[in-house]
């Protein structure tokens, strides 16, 4: 499977190429020896510009660890993460700084992912400030990305806490867009939103993707959402990728037992939902 990635029939080099990524955590000590837990083991995948790869799996399967390693919030134990021609897996924080603008992460809970003391402008402009943009440059970009995510530019002065849940997620996307990244890591970015807001944000993300041909790494447990957004679907179980392929194909013909289980539970939830809405109608 490692050599023949789905989607590799596309032209040119992939934007992101992850090879043999592994990460262990130390879970306390017993009798003076540290006990390691393997979170991710030998994960390989690649994403092209303008493409979305979804990682699905039960909780604890290692999806978020992959996301955190790719966004370099964690340092992987071994493996390579090639982003746009550079292996970022081992870079130290100083060398990472210029690369950070190319890859941005959006978190599950937008509210807690932003400093509660900051205004919208401060939230959006901080990454630019770190990258060394001038004040007027920052203000221009902040106004532009606010429009892009569908928020009025006058709201820049408002404190983050005054935004609603959906608006906060838009703000988080605006922050991520401010450095014009080539890649977004969406770690359950839509899970905490109600269904109609979720649909709006999903549309926004799809529009932004086609406008800037960004690549998305989508971490989710929601197969309906994944079916709508992802080109490639990979299923994780116990820290490994157990199945990967074009989204429609995997959903139509799941090979691995874990995939079948996930699909079955998604369908069960869906039919329950149908029953409930049928009863109330």
């Amino acid at each position: 499977m490692a050599s023949n990635f789905p989607g590799s029939e596309r032209q040119g080099h992939p934007l992101l190429h992850v090879q043999k990524l592994s990460k262990h955590y130390v879970r306390g000590r017993e009798w003076g020896k540290s006990v390691a837990v393997t979170a991710v083991c030998d994960v390989d995948f690649e994403i092209h510009a303008g493409q979305t790869l979804a990682l699905v799996g039960a909780s604890g399967a290692g999806k978020s660890t992959v996301a955190r390693c790719v966004a370099r919030l964690e340092r992987p134990d071994s493996g390579e993460i090639w982003l746009d021609g550079t292996d970022i897996a081992r870079l130290n924080s100083r060398d990472l700084l210029p690369i950070r603008s190319n890859i941005q992460m959006i978190f599950q809970d937008a509210e807690t992912s932003m400093n509660p003391r900051f205004s919208a402008a401060e939230v959006i402009e901080e990454p630019l400030q770190i990258q060394g943009a001038s004040r007027s440059e920052r203000r221009d970009i902040a106004t532009a990305v606010m429009r892009e995510v569908g928020l009025p530019a006058e709201w820049l002065k408002r404190p983050v806490l005054e935004f609603s849940g959906g608006q906060q997620q838009r703000l988080a996307i605006a922050r991520a867009l401010s450095t014009r990244p080539k890649m977004l890591v969406l770690d359950e970015a839509l899970s905490s939103l109600d269904l109609s807001t979720q649909a709006q944000i999903a549309n926004l993300l799809l529009d932004l993707q086609s406008a800037h041909s960004m690549a998305y790494l989508l971490i989710s447990h929601d197969l309906t959402l994944v079916a709508r957004m992802a080109d490639v679907l990979s299923v994780m179980s116990d820290g490994r990728i157990v199945e990967m392929g074009a989204t429609q194909q995997v959903i139509a013909d799941p090979k691995h037992a874990q995939t079948q289980r996930l699909l079955a539970s998604a369908r069960a939830a869906e039919s329950k939902f149908d029953l409930a809405s049928g009863a109330s109608a």
Binding site: A71, S93, S113
Partner: protein
């Protein structure tokens, strides 16, 4: 009504409550200022009873409280029997010294605690953090008296610092600058004792709340943006982590004052501590009550200062989000 207005009214009620309790408890305590006079055969019982009526001690408790309240409104706070003078000026001349000691102690405490707490949290589990934790739990668990007496013994034995009083006996001929130096050197020991005990508590609290904030998603997100360690700690983490520490400030101010009374007695600092101790031992009724009221006032004032600081730096209080909960 505004947040501050409510706090002020609450503070006023609190002070009235404290004064009532004060009267009740001092009344219940056995003995009075004139007990020793009674033992003296040369003073006739008539003299004593006329003295008692002069100071109003023969009246009922309610009448005495009313008279005290009236005198408090005139800023006298009753009359000291031992000093034969109104209580307020007596207290004030000593309170200045106590305030000097306590505020210096507090400034030093925060100057030490904030960097140490943040630093220990940022390097949690490393050597520095471990030593801070051990040192602070030692200091928290040893009573302040023991620390004070031990330090005093060391200082006296090695003659490192002058101890006792504020200035030396022959300070008349000294220049302003030399006087200041003299006061500073005599203040050093009591200040250090106060700072040690208080900062141990604050460092522990600050370390815990910084650790908690370091774990929140927005700090992770900020790390992901490539924000450097110093900016992260002091621009993102500390303002959020400071809220619980600031509420602690009110208590620490009150704690410093009550702590300083003790330290003053041990180090011979001419503040409220020795005055109140003497007044209590000689049953100088109104002076005791005045002293207690003053320390209650400091406590209330300290909490008020903390509330105002919280108001300034926590947006949730301004918008009333916390009251709505």
């Amino acid at each position: 009504m505004s947040y501050l207005g409510r706090r002020l009214i609450r503070a006023a009620f609190l002070l009235v409550g404290v004064s009532i309790l004060c009267f009740l408890f001092t009344e219940m305590a056995p003995g009075s200022f004139f007990d020793e006079m009674r033992l003296n055969p040369q003073i006739s019982p008539e003299t004593i009873s006329s003295l008692r009526s002069r100071y109003g001690l023969d009246q009922s408790l309610v009448v005495r409280y009313g008279r005290w309240l009236r005198s408090a409104l005139h800023a006298d706070f009753g009359y000291s029997i031992a000093y034969n003078a109104p209580v307020a000026p007596l207290l004030w001349s000593r309170a200045k010294n106590t305030l000097l000691l306590a505020t210096t102690g507090m400034l030093l405490t925060w100057l030490v605690s904030i960097p140490l707490g943040v630093w220990a949290a940022a390097r949690s589990g490393r050597m520095l953090d471990k030593s801070v934790r051990v040192a602070s739990s030692l200091l928290v668990s040893i009573p302040e008296v023991v620390i004070a007496v031990a330090l005093l013994a060391i200082v006296v034995r090695w003659r490192v610092l002058p101890v006792g009083g504020m200035t030396s006996m022959d300070d008349e001929g000294l220049s302003q600058w030399a006087r200041l130096q003299e006061i500073a050197s005599r203040m050093l020991l009591p200040t250090i004792i106060l700072t040690l005990g208080e900062s141990a508590i604050i460092v522990r609290h600050l370390r815990a709340s910084v650790l908690e904030v370091l774990d929140t998603p927005f700090v992770q997100a900020a790390r992901g943006l490539g924000i450097g360690r110093m900016r992260l700690l002091f621009r993102h983490v500390l303002p959020v982590a400071a809220s619980p520490a600031i509420s602690l400030l009110g208590f620490s101010l009150a704690g410093l004052l009550s702590g300083s009374l003790l330290v003053e007695v041990i180090c011979g600092w001419p503040g409220l501590g020795p005055l109140i101790l003497d007044a209590t031992l000689s049953r100088d009724f109104y002076l005791v009550i005045g002293g207690i009221m003053l320390s209650a006032l400091f406590m209330v004032g300290g909490n008020l200062v903390a509330d105002i600081m919280l108001l300034a730096c926590d947006p949730r209080i301004r918008t009333g989000a916390l009251d709505a909960r």
